[in-house]
């Protein structure tokens, strides 16, 4: 990981950092995009190194980096667009092209701001967590490293303009979330959950990669800006396949149906992780991606309709499920799915000229504030009481008033009560729905109602009612961030302008046109207000009558467990494992099988090759000349000896027959006009026979006799014969086919014969061996030397003498 700062230094020192958007000219100027990019790449590794050096300081590094990021983002919001554009991999036309535009600024603000709060919270939470699990406190270092890695990846992701760079950061978020969810390594459930999150988000991300490559194939560039420009110029449309791939990746990340199941499982992570990844960052990345590709996706209206359907479905189903969960973090997890269902629905509703995209980003901000606070509350409450189930808590407002107040504001924000920023998120949502007609309106009111029900149940279940658990005092650091967030929700509920400006700037990037929204309280009977009122009344009623309908909701939850995609995932993985296990059992494990599985497919390939090519005139029988009688005889003898060597039972006669083959071959070579080869063949055959007998003499005769006498399995016998025939056929077909061809007119052999006298020799073969092709001989004796080393190693532990 050291290479990270190094490579960054490399391109910074090249002086090629291009800046844009800043007004000052001349001299060095502060480039927020470049600073954030540096943070994006360095945060994780730096924190890791600090953690390795002084585990106790890891959180300080994390807080400083997150704080720096936050400051930079705020500066960027004040100064406007900036960017970085450096060559990265010119061979592929890749550039480190990063734009800190409106969309990026909004998500960067969330990532760094909430990141900072969570780091401060985690500073106390993580040591406590480790303490409960009996782990070493020094293990906090890796936690902050992975956390900051995640934050960095988010920063890089939101700024990336180059599709490959975007994908890189996209996948790093998946990897970082894997590390964070599996932080409790000894917990098998945590590891399985981390794997699930990685598989769902990582495999769907492959679609994004393929989409990026398809886009490059179609538009000839990885630069998103250029692609969008080309698409707007009407050159090409995106293509439905590409669009579906992008949207699937985004929906999987945002935990929408049917990919939603990983998110509740991911609650196995320590609570600060849940607070950050699964409310403000990881799931936000999905809708961010849709926002980023919005101009392209909008070229395919069917995609947007699909988004709306998926969003509405996720919102409804997880909303209902959220009302049935007992574990407080599970309630929040399903709530997140449902809330992002809203966002996706809004994005689906909001094409050109519509409110949806603005509403969506506004919603993301409001939701992030509220949901983080609620998760942090859940963590603090669990820390104080040791409980995670709603039915074992209650009445905690007395012992934890500050927490109750902070999270009350957050719950109100999520429930869209007036005087919170949440009210406006729903107002915009309703406005977007109104543009699309009654069906959308009904869905919107239903969604808002569900939100009120489950969040009311959550907050009320913890803080109101009879007291069922005792709360130990919790450190201030676990309460402070909740209070800060609650205050922020109330503040922006009174002064929503800044949030609206941020949302407008972000939406302008998606919609490619400026949109203005002016959230304000209107005490009149405009439809939005009526819808809000309806949802309050409905929600309140449902909350009061929970006893009557909750069995039905539980039933739905059970059906979901029975037939839902989580089940499919589990079964799929099980199936893979079983299938794999079955394959392992049939995997060939003995040497003979291994040889057979080479001969058989090789035979099949040879036959295919034979059939696929014209065989007419390909084979000739050749002519037997007058002088060839001896050669014919000796070849027949060779064949006989070859077959004979497979027959004997005992090893000694086998050795003798195989030597016979060798000597027959030597005679063949001699008759062939190759006396050198014949000489060597005879000598080598003799030498090998000596070695063979020497080796046999080392083996006990009893073992040899037993081995030789042991009968071969009858079934094997037939198989062996068949495979031997196949092997013979391979050799026959290949050698006959090659030998049948009249040879090329000019052959290098003629040159060798002519040149031999020049090399001071009369024996052409020898001169080839020592001169023309001496390198072969050099190699050959090297092989002999290596074999000698090997034999020494095997027989004498390497000793040569």
């Amino acid at each position: 990981m050291l290479a990270v700062p190094f490579s960054l230094l490399l391109f910074v020192s090249n002086g090629t950092l291009a800046t844009s958007g800043n007004t000052m000219d001349g001299g060095w100027q502060f480039n927020p995009a470049a600073s954030l990019l540096a943070l994006a790449v360095l945060s994780g590794p730096l924190t890791w190194l600090v953690g390795r050096w002084r585990p106790g300081l890891a959180w300080v590094a994390g807080a400083l980096l997150a704080g720096g990021g936050l400051t930079t983002t705020i500066v960027a919001i004040a100064t406007g667009d900036s960017g970085v554009d450096v060559a990265w991999a010119p061979s592929w036309g890749l550039r480190l092209a990063f734009d800190l535009d409106g969309l990026a600024r909004l998500y960067a603000l969330l990532a760094t701001g909430i990141g900072l709060l969570v780091v401060i919270y985690a500073r106390r939470y993580v040591p406590l967590h480790l303490h409960h699990q009996g782990r070493d406190e020094r293990e906090a270092g890796p936690f902050f490293a992975a956390f900051l890695l995640f934050m960095g990846a988010m920063l890089g992701l939101v700024m990336a303009r180059d599709l490959i760079a975007l994908f890189v950061f996209w996948d790093v978020t998946a990897l970082a979330s894997y590390l964070l969810i599996s932080y409790d390594r000894q917990d098998a459930n945590a590891r399985a959950s981390a794997l699930m999150a990685l598989l769902v988000t990582g495999i769907s991300a492959l679609g994004l990669l393929v989409a990026a490559l398809l886009i490059e194939d179609r538009y000839g560039t990885f630069d998103l800006g250029a692609v969008i420009a080309a698409a707007e110029a009407g050159d090409h449309s995106l293509g439905l396949t590409t669009g579906i791939l992008i949207v699937s990746a985004a929906l999987a990340k945002s935990a929408q149906l049917p990919f939603h199941f990983w998110l509740p499982r991911a609650m196995a992570a320590p609570t600060p992780v849940s607070a950050y990844l699964h409310s403000a960052a990881m799931v936000a990345a999905g809708v961010f991606l849709i926002g980023r590709f919005y101009p392209l996706l909008a070229t395919e209206p069917r995609l947007l309709d699909g988004l709306a359907v998926v969003g509405a479905g996720s919102m409804a189903i997880s909303g209902v499920l959220a009302t049935t969960r007992a574990d407080i973090k599970q309630v929040l997890a399903y709530s997140t799915i449902s809330q992002y269902g809203y966002v996706v629905l809004m994005l689906g509703l909001g094409g050109q000229g519509h409110y949806g995209a603005v509403a969506a980003v506004f919603y993301v901000v409001a939701h992030a504030l509220a949901k983080t606070a609620l998760f942090l509350t859940a963590g603090a409450v669990t820390e104080a009481t040791g409980e995670r189930r709603l039915d074992r808590m209650g009445g905690l407002w007395r012992s934890m008033p500050a927490l109750a107040a902070g999270s009350g504001a957050a719950a109100a924000g999520l429930a869209a009560l007036p005087l919170t920023v949440g009210f406006f998120k729903d107002e915009l949502f309703f406005a977007a729905a109104l543009e699309r007609g009654p069906a959308a309106v009904a869905v919107a009111v239903g969604g808002a109602t569900l939100t009120i029900v489950y969040i009311g149940r959550f907050w009320g279940g913890i803080f109101l009612g009879p007291r069922r658990a005792t709360a130990d005092p919790v450190p201030l650091a676990l309460v402070g961030p909740v209070v800060v967030l609650g205050a922020a929700i109330l503040l922006t509920g009174v002064v929503p302008g800044p949030v609206a400006r941020l949302a407008e700037a972000a939406a302008a990037v998606s919609l490619r046109e400026a949109m203005t929204v002016s959230p304000a309280y209107h005490l009149d009977t405009r439809p939005e207000n009526l819808m809000a009122l309806a949802s309050f009344v409905l929600g309140g009623t449902l909350l009061a009558t929970r006893r009557f309908w909750s069995p039905a909701a539980m039933g739905l939850a059970r059906i979901g467990q029975r037939f839902g995609p989580a089940r499919a995932y589990g079964r799929g993985l099980d199936g893979f494992e079983r299938f794999s296990g079955a394959m392992r059992r049939v995997e060939v494990r003995d040497l003979r099988g291994r040889v057979a599985t080479i001969l058989l497919p090789a035979g099949v390939l040879v036959i295919i090759a034979l059939i696929a090519t014209p065989t007419r005139d390909a084979f000739s029988f050749g002519t037997i000349q007058r002088g060839d009688a001896g050669l014919v005889m000796i070849l027949i003898a060779t064949c006989g000896a070859g077959i004979a060597s497979t027959l004997p039972r005992d090893h000694l006669s086998m050795a003798l027959t195989v030597s016979g083959v060798g000597y027959c071959l030597a005679v063949t070579y001699a008759l062939f006009g190759a006396p050198d080869v014949a000489l060597v063949a005879v000598l080598v055959e003799t030498m090998f026979a000596l070695l063979f007998l020497g080796m046999l003499s080392l083996l006990p005769r009893r073992v040899l006799a037993e081995e030789a006498a042991e009968p071969e399995n009858h079934h094997h016998g037939r198989r062996d014969a068949a495979l031997a025939v196949i092997a013979g056929v391979i050799a026959l077909v290949v050698s006959w086919s090659a030998l049948s061809r009249p040879t090329f007119r000019e052959s290098v052999a003629v040159d060798y014969i002519e040149l031999a006298p020049d090399a001071h020799a009369r024996d052409v073969v020898t001169v080839i061996l020592t001169d023309f092709r001496g390198l072969d001989t050099m190699g050959e004796i090297t092989v002999i030397g290596i074999a000698m080393l090997g034999i020494a190693g095997l027989l004498r532990r390497g000793r040569l003498r």
Binding site: P675, D676, L679, V680, L683, V684, T686, M687, L690, L691, G694, M695, S697, L698, L699, P700, R701, R702, V703, L755, D758, A759, H760, A761, R762, D763, V765, T766, V767, L769, T770, D771, G774, L775, T777, M778, I781, T782, I784, G785, A787, M788, I791, A792, L795, R796, R797, R799, L800, R801
Partner: protein, 177 residues
């Protein structure tokens, strides 16, 4: 009981019976050694003019040494100095051949550039031409001879000592030297 020690008992029972060696064969073997080396030398030297080269010469010479094993038994040849040093001879031979191959590179010529070059006059020493390919061939000879003799020697030293009062060094490969 470890595998190797169990094996030793088996192998000891199955060793070649030393009584097959007789005084006559021993004498013949000794006497044959010199002519065999002569033949090997001839094959090596004449390689450029006639059948044969360093490789066959090496095998012939090795067979000559190994004839001793028929005569004296495996254990005896395991103790011969020439057998013990043979592997180093093989490596030295490889170094010689490698030298012939790569020394020309040092002078900026292509590898394996032999001296004297094509068409240049050659000094003779009897039938022997003084050209670098001969040196190369000597390297090959040494490698092959060293390999064959060395490996047989290794096998020979694997043979366990005869049952009964033992003499000599007979090692069984399992222990460190």
């Amino acid at each position: 009981m470890s595998p190797s020690s169990r094996y030793q008992v088996d192998a000891a029972q199955s060793r070649i019976d030393p009584s097959v060696t007789t005084v006559l064969t021993q004498t013949v073997a000794r006497l044959l050694l010199v002519p065999i080396f002569m033949v090997a030398l001839a094959i090596l030297v004449k390689g450029y003019a006639d059948v044969g080269d360093g490789f066959s010469a090496g095998v012939v010479a090795a067979l000559g040494v190994l004839l001793q094993d028929v005569a004296f038994g495996y254990r005896a040849i395991g103790r011969l100095t020439i057998v013990r040093l043979a592997p180093y001879g093989a490596l030295a031979g490889a170094l010689i051949a490698l030298g012939v191959t790569f020394v020309p590179v040092l002078t900026g010529e292509p590898l394996l550039r032999h001296r004297p070059g094509a068409g240049e006059p050659v000094a003779h020493l009897g039938a022997l031409e003084l050209i670098t390919p001969v040196l190369f061939d000597i390297g090959v000879f040494l490698v092959v001879f060293g390999f064959a003799v060395g490996v047989i020697g290794m096998i020979a030293r694997m043979h366990p000592r005869p049952i009964g009062p033992s003499r000599g060094t007979g090692a069984t490969g399992g222990d460190e030297g």
